[in-house]
Subunit: 243 residues, 2 copies
Amino acid sequence: MDDGIDRRRGAGVALWRQIQQVLEREIADGAVKPGERLPTEFELAERFQVNRHTVRRALAEMEEKGLLRVEQGRGTFVHEHVIDYAVGKRTRFASNLMKVGREAGHEFVRAEAGEADGSVAEALSLRRGAPVIVLETVGMADARRISFSTQYLPADRFPGFDIAFRETQSITQSLARYGVADYTRRWTRVVARMPTAAEADILHQPRNRPVLVTEALDVDHDGRPVNLGVTRFASDWVQLVIE
Amino acid sequence: MDDGIDRRRGAGVALWRQIQQVLEREIADGAVKPGERLPTEFELAERFQVNRHTVRRALAEMEEKGLLRVEQGRGTFVHEHVIDYAVGKRTRFASNLMKVGREAGHEFVRAEAGEADGSVAEALSLRRGAPVIVLETVGMADARRISFSTQYLPADRFPGFDIAFRETQSITQSLARYGVADYTRRWTRVVARMPTAAEADILHQPRNRPVLVTEALDVDHDGRPVNLGVTRFASDWVQLVIE
Protein backbone atom coordinates (compact mmCIF):
# COMPACT_ATOMS: atom_id res chain seq x y z
CA MET A 1 0.00 0.00 0.00
CA ASP A 2 1.50 3.32 -0.98
CA ASP A 3 -0.13 5.98 1.17
CA GLY A 4 2.93 8.19 1.52
CA ILE A 5 3.64 6.93 5.03
CA ASP A 6 7.26 5.98 5.63
CA ARG A 7 7.17 3.06 8.07
CA ARG A 8 10.93 2.54 8.38
CA ARG A 9 12.22 2.99 11.90
CA GLY A 10 14.30 6.11 12.22
CA ALA A 11 12.84 7.54 9.03
CA GLY A 12 13.24 11.14 10.16
CA VAL A 13 9.62 12.02 10.92
CA ALA A 14 7.83 9.94 13.56
CA LEU A 15 5.04 7.71 12.27
CA TRP A 16 2.35 9.38 14.36
CA ARG A 17 3.46 12.76 13.04
CA GLN A 18 3.20 11.54 9.44
CA ILE A 19 -0.30 10.24 10.11
CA GLN A 20 -1.21 13.55 11.69
CA GLN A 21 0.02 15.34 8.57
CA VAL A 22 -2.03 13.10 6.27
CA LEU A 23 -5.19 13.63 8.33
CA GLU A 24 -4.65 17.38 8.60
CA ARG A 25 -4.19 17.60 4.84
CA GLU A 26 -7.46 15.72 4.32
CA ILE A 27 -9.25 18.20 6.58
CA ALA A 28 -7.59 21.19 4.89
CA ASP A 29 -8.53 19.82 1.46
CA GLY A 30 -12.11 19.24 2.54
CA ALA A 31 -11.92 15.46 2.06
CA VAL A 32 -13.25 15.27 5.61
CA LYS A 33 -15.56 18.17 6.43
CA PRO A 34 -16.21 20.14 9.60
CA GLY A 35 -18.76 18.31 11.75
CA GLU A 36 -18.02 14.93 10.16
CA ARG A 37 -17.11 11.96 12.29
CA LEU A 38 -13.64 10.48 11.84
CA PRO A 39 -13.20 6.72 11.41
CA THR A 40 -12.56 4.92 14.72
CA GLU A 41 -9.03 4.44 16.05
CA PHE A 42 -9.34 0.81 15.04
CA GLU A 43 -10.25 1.71 11.46
CA LEU A 44 -7.47 4.28 11.23
CA ALA A 45 -4.95 1.80 12.61
CA GLU A 46 -6.05 -0.65 9.89
CA ARG A 47 -5.82 2.00 7.21
CA PHE A 48 -2.31 3.16 8.12
CA GLN A 49 -1.11 -0.30 9.17
CA VAL A 50 0.05 0.90 12.55
CA ASN A 51 -1.01 0.14 16.09
CA ARG A 52 -3.76 2.06 17.83
CA HIS A 53 -1.32 3.80 20.15
CA THR A 54 0.27 5.50 17.15
CA VAL A 55 -3.11 6.61 15.84
CA ARG A 56 -4.09 7.85 19.28
CA ARG A 57 -0.98 10.00 19.51
CA ALA A 58 -1.77 11.65 16.16
CA LEU A 59 -5.39 12.29 17.14
CA ALA A 60 -4.41 13.67 20.57
CA GLU A 61 -2.10 16.16 18.89
CA MET A 62 -4.87 17.25 16.51
CA GLU A 63 -7.35 17.56 19.34
CA GLU A 64 -4.87 19.74 21.21
CA LYS A 65 -4.65 22.03 18.19
CA GLY A 66 -8.44 22.31 18.18
CA LEU A 67 -8.86 20.50 14.86
CA LEU A 68 -10.83 17.64 16.37
CA ARG A 69 -13.49 17.43 19.00
CA VAL A 70 -14.16 14.31 21.05
CA GLU A 71 -17.74 13.72 22.13
CA GLN A 72 -17.88 11.14 24.92
CA GLY A 73 -19.48 7.96 23.64
CA ARG A 74 -20.17 9.40 20.18
CA GLY A 75 -16.78 9.58 18.55
CA THR A 76 -14.25 12.07 17.23
CA PHE A 77 -15.41 14.85 14.94
CA VAL A 78 -13.73 17.41 12.73
CA HIS A 79 -14.22 20.67 14.55
CA GLU A 80 -16.56 23.17 12.99
CA HIS A 81 -15.33 26.71 12.68
CA VAL A 82 -15.68 28.73 15.83
CA ILE A 83 -18.02 31.65 16.00
CA ASP A 84 -16.44 35.10 15.98
CA TYR A 85 -18.11 37.07 18.74
CA ALA A 86 -17.39 40.80 18.45
CA VAL A 87 -16.66 42.67 21.66
CA GLY A 88 -16.62 46.44 21.58
CA LYS A 89 -18.56 49.58 22.37
CA ARG A 90 -21.74 48.18 20.89
CA THR A 91 -21.85 44.52 21.76
CA ARG A 92 -25.22 42.91 20.98
CA PHE A 93 -25.80 39.17 21.03
CA ALA A 94 -28.34 38.90 18.23
CA SER A 95 -26.65 41.23 15.75
CA ASN A 96 -23.26 39.71 16.54
CA LEU A 97 -24.52 36.32 15.47
CA MET A 98 -26.37 37.65 12.48
CA LYS A 99 -23.11 39.19 11.22
CA VAL A 100 -21.47 35.74 11.15
CA GLY A 101 -24.47 34.09 9.52
CA ARG A 102 -25.92 32.34 12.55
CA GLU A 103 -29.42 32.46 13.87
CA ALA A 104 -29.47 33.83 17.42
CA GLY A 105 -31.80 32.53 20.09
CA HIS A 106 -32.25 32.52 23.83
CA GLU A 107 -33.41 29.94 26.27
CA PHE A 108 -34.82 31.50 29.36
CA VAL A 109 -33.46 29.89 32.52
CA ARG A 110 -34.77 32.02 35.35
CA ALA A 111 -35.48 35.55 36.54
CA GLU A 112 -35.62 36.52 40.15
CA ALA A 113 -35.35 39.36 42.61
CA GLY A 114 -31.98 39.52 44.33
CA GLU A 115 -29.68 41.78 46.30
CA ALA A 116 -26.50 43.36 45.01
CA ASP A 117 -23.43 41.82 46.62
CA GLY A 118 -20.12 43.70 46.79
CA SER A 119 -18.98 43.40 43.18
CA VAL A 120 -22.44 43.81 41.64
CA ALA A 121 -23.13 46.87 43.80
CA GLU A 122 -19.81 48.43 42.86
CA ALA A 123 -20.27 47.86 39.12
CA LEU A 124 -23.85 49.15 39.07
CA SER A 125 -23.09 52.07 41.45
CA LEU A 126 -25.63 50.78 43.98
CA ARG A 127 -25.35 50.36 47.72
CA ARG A 128 -24.69 46.81 48.92
CA GLY A 129 -27.89 44.87 49.33
CA ALA A 130 -29.83 47.11 46.92
CA PRO A 131 -32.53 45.23 44.99
CA VAL A 132 -31.47 43.86 41.61
CA ILE A 133 -33.15 41.77 38.96
CA VAL A 134 -31.17 38.66 38.12
CA LEU A 135 -31.76 37.11 34.70
CA GLU A 136 -30.26 33.86 33.53
CA THR A 137 -30.36 32.87 29.90
CA VAL A 138 -28.68 30.47 27.52
CA GLY A 139 -27.50 31.97 24.24
CA MET A 140 -28.02 29.88 21.12
CA ALA A 141 -26.31 29.97 17.73
CA ASP A 142 -28.50 28.05 15.32
CA ALA A 143 -29.55 25.21 17.61
CA ARG A 144 -26.33 25.05 19.62
CA ARG A 145 -25.85 26.36 23.14
CA ILE A 146 -22.85 28.66 23.05
CA SER A 147 -23.22 30.82 26.15
CA PHE A 148 -24.79 31.07 29.57
CA SER A 149 -25.38 34.56 30.98
CA THR A 150 -26.31 36.05 34.30
CA GLN A 151 -27.42 39.67 34.04
CA TYR A 152 -27.91 42.08 36.93
CA LEU A 153 -30.07 45.20 36.55
CA PRO A 154 -31.05 47.78 39.17
CA ALA A 155 -34.58 46.83 40.25
CA ASP A 156 -35.58 50.32 41.44
CA ARG A 157 -34.97 51.77 38.00
CA PHE A 158 -36.37 48.83 36.01
CA PRO A 159 -39.26 47.39 38.02
CA GLY A 160 -40.77 44.38 36.27
CA PHE A 161 -37.81 44.06 33.90
CA ASP A 162 -37.99 40.29 34.14
CA ILE A 163 -41.52 40.37 32.73
CA ALA A 164 -40.47 42.68 29.91
CA PHE A 165 -37.61 40.34 29.11
CA ARG A 166 -39.83 37.28 29.08
CA GLU A 167 -42.05 39.03 26.54
CA THR A 168 -39.37 40.53 24.30
CA GLN A 169 -36.57 37.94 24.75
CA SER A 170 -34.21 40.88 24.32
CA ILE A 171 -32.31 43.10 26.77
CA THR A 172 -32.20 45.89 24.19
CA GLN A 173 -35.97 45.88 23.57
CA SER A 174 -36.73 45.56 27.27
CA LEU A 175 -34.52 48.54 28.14
CA ALA A 176 -36.27 50.58 25.41
CA ARG A 177 -39.54 50.14 27.33
CA TYR A 178 -37.95 52.03 30.22
CA GLY A 179 -36.77 54.85 27.97
CA VAL A 180 -33.22 53.55 27.50
CA ALA A 181 -33.07 53.89 23.74
CA ASP A 182 -29.41 52.97 23.52
CA TYR A 183 -26.56 51.71 25.65
CA THR A 184 -22.86 51.14 25.22
CA ARG A 185 -20.26 48.87 26.74
CA ARG A 186 -18.06 50.66 29.30
CA TRP A 187 -15.70 47.76 29.92
CA THR A 188 -15.33 44.03 29.42
CA ARG A 189 -13.09 41.72 31.44
CA VAL A 190 -12.16 38.32 30.05
CA VAL A 191 -10.92 35.29 31.94
CA ALA A 192 -10.53 31.60 31.12
CA ARG A 193 -11.36 28.94 33.66
CA MET A 194 -12.72 25.43 33.96
CA PRO A 195 -16.53 25.27 34.10
CA THR A 196 -18.39 24.35 37.25
CA ALA A 197 -20.47 21.18 37.01
CA ALA A 198 -23.63 23.29 36.57
CA GLU A 199 -22.09 25.42 33.80
CA ALA A 200 -20.82 22.40 31.88
CA ASP A 201 -24.25 20.85 32.19
CA ILE A 202 -26.08 23.94 30.94
CA LEU A 203 -23.65 24.42 28.05
CA HIS A 204 -23.75 20.72 27.12
CA GLN A 205 -19.98 20.62 27.19
CA PRO A 206 -17.43 18.34 28.84
CA ARG A 207 -16.01 19.48 32.17
CA ASN A 208 -12.46 19.18 30.91
CA ARG A 209 -12.84 22.00 28.37
CA PRO A 210 -12.54 25.57 29.61
CA VAL A 211 -15.08 28.37 29.42
CA LEU A 212 -14.27 31.89 28.27
CA VAL A 213 -15.93 34.21 30.78
CA THR A 214 -16.71 37.86 30.13
CA GLU A 215 -17.88 40.29 32.77
CA ALA A 216 -19.23 43.45 31.16
CA LEU A 217 -20.85 46.70 32.12
CA ASP A 218 -23.34 48.48 29.88
CA VAL A 219 -24.19 52.14 30.50
CA ASP A 220 -26.86 54.48 29.13
CA HIS A 221 -26.09 57.70 27.23
CA ASP A 222 -25.69 59.55 30.54
CA GLY A 223 -23.06 57.04 31.60
CA ARG A 224 -25.33 55.43 34.22
CA PRO A 225 -24.87 51.67 34.56
CA VAL A 226 -27.87 49.72 33.30
CA ASN A 227 -26.69 46.14 33.12
CA LEU A 228 -23.87 44.02 34.48
CA GLY A 229 -23.56 40.76 32.58
CA VAL A 230 -21.46 37.70 33.30
CA THR A 231 -21.32 35.37 30.30
CA ARG A 232 -19.63 31.98 30.07
CA PHE A 233 -18.90 31.05 26.44
CA ALA A 234 -18.25 27.45 25.43
CA SER A 235 -14.61 27.77 24.36
CA ASP A 236 -14.95 25.05 21.73
CA TRP A 237 -17.41 27.22 19.86
CA VAL A 238 -16.62 30.86 20.44
CA GLN A 239 -13.69 33.19 19.99
CA LEU A 240 -13.95 36.82 21.00
CA VAL A 241 -12.90 39.40 18.43
CA ILE A 242 -11.85 42.87 19.54
CA GLU A 243 -11.60 45.49 16.83
CA MET B 1 -16.66 25.84 70.72
CA ASP B 2 -18.85 28.54 69.25
CA ASP B 3 -17.54 29.25 65.77
CA GLY B 4 -20.92 30.01 64.20
CA ILE B 5 -21.08 26.61 62.49
CA ASP B 6 -24.41 24.86 62.92
CA ARG B 7 -23.63 21.13 63.09
CA ARG B 8 -27.19 19.85 63.42
CA ARG B 9 -28.26 17.56 60.60
CA GLY B 10 -30.81 19.22 58.38
CA ALA B 11 -29.87 22.66 59.69
CA GLY B 12 -30.79 24.44 56.46
CA VAL B 13 -27.33 25.19 55.09
CA ALA B 14 -25.00 22.25 54.43
CA LEU B 15 -21.99 22.03 56.73
CA TRP B 16 -19.46 22.32 53.93
CA ARG B 17 -21.23 25.42 52.68
CA GLN B 18 -21.07 27.02 56.12
CA ILE B 19 -17.35 26.28 56.32
CA GLN B 20 -16.90 27.75 52.88
CA GLN B 21 -18.67 30.90 54.04
CA VAL B 22 -16.46 31.22 57.12
CA LEU B 23 -13.28 30.79 55.07
CA GLU B 24 -14.44 33.19 52.39
CA ARG B 25 -15.23 35.79 55.02
CA GLU B 26 -11.75 35.39 56.48
CA ILE B 27 -10.24 35.98 53.05
CA ALA B 28 -12.52 38.96 52.38
CA ASP B 29 -11.65 40.45 55.78
CA GLY B 30 -7.95 39.97 55.19
CA ALA B 31 -7.53 37.52 58.08
CA VAL B 32 -5.89 35.24 55.53
CA LYS B 33 -4.06 37.20 52.84
CA PRO B 34 -3.50 36.61 49.13
CA GLY B 35 -0.50 34.32 48.65
CA GLU B 36 -0.78 32.82 52.14
CA ARG B 37 -0.98 29.09 52.61
CA LEU B 38 -4.17 27.70 54.13
CA PRO B 39 -3.98 25.20 57.00
CA THR B 40 -4.03 21.58 55.80
CA GLU B 41 -7.30 19.69 55.34
CA PHE B 42 -6.46 17.82 58.51
CA GLU B 43 -6.01 21.03 60.49
CA LEU B 44 -9.20 22.55 59.09
CA ALA B 45 -11.14 19.36 59.90
CA GLU B 46 -9.85 19.63 63.48
CA ARG B 47 -10.75 23.30 63.69
CA PHE B 48 -14.31 22.86 62.43
CA GLN B 49 -14.81 19.48 64.10
CA VAL B 50 -15.89 17.86 60.85
CA ASN B 51 -14.43 15.12 58.69
CA ARG B 52 -11.93 15.84 55.94
CA HIS B 53 -14.42 15.07 53.20
CA THR B 54 -16.52 18.03 54.37
CA VAL B 55 -13.50 20.33 54.38
CA ARG B 56 -12.46 19.09 50.96
CA ARG B 57 -15.87 19.90 49.50
CA ALA B 58 -15.66 23.47 50.84
CA LEU B 59 -12.13 23.94 49.46
CA ALA B 60 -13.06 22.45 46.07
CA GLU B 61 -15.89 24.94 45.76
CA MET B 62 -13.56 27.82 46.61
CA GLU B 63 -10.95 26.60 44.18
CA GLU B 64 -13.60 26.44 41.48
CA LYS B 65 -14.47 30.08 42.17
CA GLY B 66 -10.82 31.00 41.78
CA LEU B 67 -10.35 32.00 45.42
CA LEU B 68 -7.80 29.29 46.11
CA ARG B 69 -4.94 27.86 44.18
CA VAL B 70 -3.59 24.35 44.72
CA GLU B 71 0.12 23.86 44.12
CA GLN B 72 0.91 20.16 43.80
CA GLY B 73 2.93 19.02 46.78
CA ARG B 74 3.10 22.51 48.31
CA GLY B 75 -0.40 23.11 49.60
CA THR B 76 -3.41 25.33 49.05
CA PHE B 77 -2.95 29.08 48.80
CA VAL B 78 -5.22 32.09 48.81
CA HIS B 79 -5.14 33.28 45.25
CA GLU B 80 -3.39 36.56 44.60
CA HIS B 81 -5.27 39.12 42.58
CA VAL B 82 -5.04 38.54 38.89
CA ILE B 83 -3.28 41.00 36.67
CA ASP B 84 -5.49 43.26 34.58
CA TYR B 85 -4.02 43.23 31.10
CA ALA B 86 -5.43 46.04 28.95
CA VAL B 87 -6.28 45.18 25.35
CA GLY B 88 -7.03 48.00 22.97
CA LYS B 89 -5.64 50.18 20.21
CA ARG B 90 -2.36 50.70 22.04
CA THR B 91 -1.54 47.43 23.74
CA ARG B 92 2.02 47.41 25.13
CA PHE B 93 3.29 44.73 27.47
CA ALA B 94 5.64 46.82 29.59
CA SER B 95 3.37 49.83 30.07
CA ASN B 96 0.38 47.56 30.69
CA LEU B 97 2.18 45.98 33.62
CA MET B 98 3.55 49.28 34.90
CA LYS B 99 -0.04 50.60 35.07
CA VAL B 100 -0.99 47.80 37.46
CA GLY B 101 2.13 48.20 39.56
CA ARG B 102 4.09 45.23 38.29
CA GLU B 103 7.59 45.10 36.97
CA ALA B 104 7.64 43.82 33.40
CA GLY B 105 10.35 41.56 32.07
CA HIS B 106 11.06 39.20 29.20
CA GLU B 107 12.84 35.93 28.95
CA PHE B 108 14.14 35.34 25.51
CA VAL B 109 13.32 31.84 24.25
CA ARG B 110 14.41 31.81 20.62
CA ALA B 111 14.53 33.78 17.40
CA GLU B 112 14.71 32.19 14.01
CA ALA B 113 14.08 32.65 10.33
CA GLY B 114 10.88 31.01 9.16
CA GLU B 115 8.33 30.97 6.36
CA ALA B 116 4.83 32.39 6.54
CA ASP B 117 2.22 29.63 6.54
CA GLY B 118 -1.36 30.27 5.43
CA SER B 119 -2.67 32.18 8.44
CA VAL B 120 0.55 34.14 9.09
CA ALA B 121 0.80 35.13 5.43
CA GLU B 122 -2.81 36.27 5.37
CA ALA B 123 -2.50 38.36 8.54
CA LEU B 124 0.76 40.02 7.46
CA SER B 125 -0.36 40.47 3.82
CA LEU B 126 2.53 38.35 2.57
CA ARG B 127 2.60 35.58 0.03
CA ARG B 128 2.68 32.06 1.46
CA GLY B 129 6.22 30.93 2.20
CA ALA B 130 7.54 34.51 2.44
CA PRO B 131 10.40 34.90 4.92
CA VAL B 132 9.39 35.89 8.44
CA ILE B 133 11.24 36.38 11.69
CA VAL B 134 9.82 34.25 14.48
CA LEU B 135 10.46 35.44 18.04
CA GLU B 136 9.53 33.51 21.13
CA THR B 137 9.55 35.17 24.52
CA VAL B 138 8.20 34.63 27.98
CA GLY B 139 6.52 37.64 29.59
CA MET B 140 7.21 38.22 33.28
CA ALA B 141 5.28 40.18 35.89
CA ASP B 142 7.62 40.74 38.81
CA ALA B 143 9.32 37.35 38.84
CA ARG B 144 6.34 35.32 37.66
CA ARG B 145 5.88 33.93 34.17
CA ILE B 146 2.49 35.12 32.97
CA SER B 147 2.66 34.75 29.20
CA PHE B 148 4.40 33.01 26.33
CA SER B 149 4.43 34.78 22.96
CA THR B 150 5.27 33.89 19.41
CA GLN B 151 5.69 36.95 17.18
CA TYR B 152 5.91 36.94 13.41
CA LEU B 153 7.41 39.89 11.51
CA PRO B 154 8.07 40.27 7.78
CA ALA B 155 11.80 39.55 7.34
CA ASP B 156 12.19 41.54 4.11
CA ARG B 157 11.09 44.73 5.82
CA PHE B 158 12.86 44.11 9.13
CA PRO B 159 16.11 42.28 8.34
CA GLY B 160 18.04 41.47 11.52
CA PHE B 161 15.04 42.23 13.71
CA ASP B 162 15.91 39.33 15.99
CA ILE B 163 19.27 40.96 16.74
CA ALA B 164 17.61 44.31 17.45
CA PHE B 165 15.19 42.56 19.77
CA ARG B 166 17.94 40.75 21.64
CA GLU B 167 19.60 44.09 22.26
CA THR B 168 16.54 46.14 23.17
CA GLN B 169 14.31 43.42 24.70
CA SER B 170 11.43 45.42 23.28
CA ILE B 171 9.32 45.12 20.14
CA THR B 172 8.51 48.84 20.29
CA GLN B 173 12.16 49.93 20.50
CA SER B 174 13.23 47.43 17.86
CA LEU B 175 10.57 48.65 15.42
CA ALA B 176 11.71 52.23 16.05
CA ARG B 177 15.14 51.30 14.65
CA TYR B 178 13.43 50.52 11.34
CA GLY B 179 11.59 53.84 11.30
CA VAL B 180 8.33 52.52 12.73
CA ALA B 181 7.85 55.18 15.38
CA ASP B 182 4.42 53.97 16.39
CA TYR B 183 2.02 51.12 15.79
CA THR B 184 -1.54 50.28 16.75
CA ARG B 185 -3.55 47.13 17.25
CA ARG B 186 -5.87 46.38 14.33
CA TRP B 187 -7.60 43.38 15.88
CA THR B 188 -7.29 40.89 18.71
CA ARG B 189 -8.91 37.46 18.83
CA VAL B 190 -9.28 35.69 22.14
CA VAL B 191 -9.80 31.99 22.78
CA ALA B 192 -9.55 29.74 25.81
CA ARG B 193 -8.07 26.27 25.56
CA MET B 194 -6.05 23.75 27.50
CA PRO B 195 -2.28 24.25 27.23
CA THR B 196 -0.07 21.86 25.31
CA ALA B 197 2.54 20.08 27.41
CA ALA B 198 5.21 22.51 26.16
CA GLU B 199 3.12 25.59 26.97
CA ALA B 200 2.30 24.38 30.48
CA ASP B 201 5.97 23.67 31.00
CA ILE B 202 7.10 27.10 29.82
CA LEU B 203 4.42 28.88 31.87
CA HIS B 204 5.15 26.77 34.96
CA GLN B 205 1.48 25.95 35.25
CA PRO B 206 -0.46 22.72 35.66
CA ARG B 207 -1.86 21.15 32.50
CA ASN B 208 -5.37 21.09 33.91
CA ARG B 209 -5.68 24.88 33.98
CA PRO B 210 -6.55 26.64 30.72
CA VAL B 211 -4.61 29.30 28.87
CA LEU B 212 -6.15 32.48 27.51
CA VAL B 213 -4.78 32.88 23.99
CA THR B 214 -4.73 36.15 22.07
CA GLU B 215 -3.87 36.45 18.41
CA ALA B 216 -3.24 40.07 17.49
CA LEU B 217 -2.19 42.15 14.54
CA ASP B 218 -0.25 45.39 14.91
CA VAL B 219 -0.07 47.85 12.00
CA ASP B 220 2.01 50.97 11.35
CA HIS B 221 0.55 54.43 10.76
CA ASP B 222 0.02 53.57 7.09
CA GLY B 223 -2.00 50.53 8.10
CA ARG B 224 0.72 48.10 6.98
CA PRO B 225 0.98 44.99 9.18
CA VAL B 226 4.20 44.92 11.19
CA ASN B 227 3.70 42.18 13.74
CA LEU B 228 1.42 39.20 14.28
CA GLY B 229 1.59 37.99 17.85
CA VAL B 230 0.16 34.86 19.43
CA THR B 231 0.25 35.06 23.23
CA ARG B 232 -0.79 32.40 25.73
CA PHE B 233 -1.58 33.94 29.11
CA ALA B 234 -1.62 31.81 32.28
CA SER B 235 -5.32 32.07 33.13
CA ASP B 236 -4.67 31.83 36.87
CA TRP B 237 -2.77 35.10 36.69
CA VAL B 238 -4.20 37.26 33.94
CA GLN B 239 -7.53 38.72 32.99
CA LEU B 240 -7.89 40.79 29.85
CA VAL B 241 -9.57 44.16 30.19
CA ILE B 242 -11.18 45.80 27.18
CA GLU B 243 -12.12 49.45 27.55
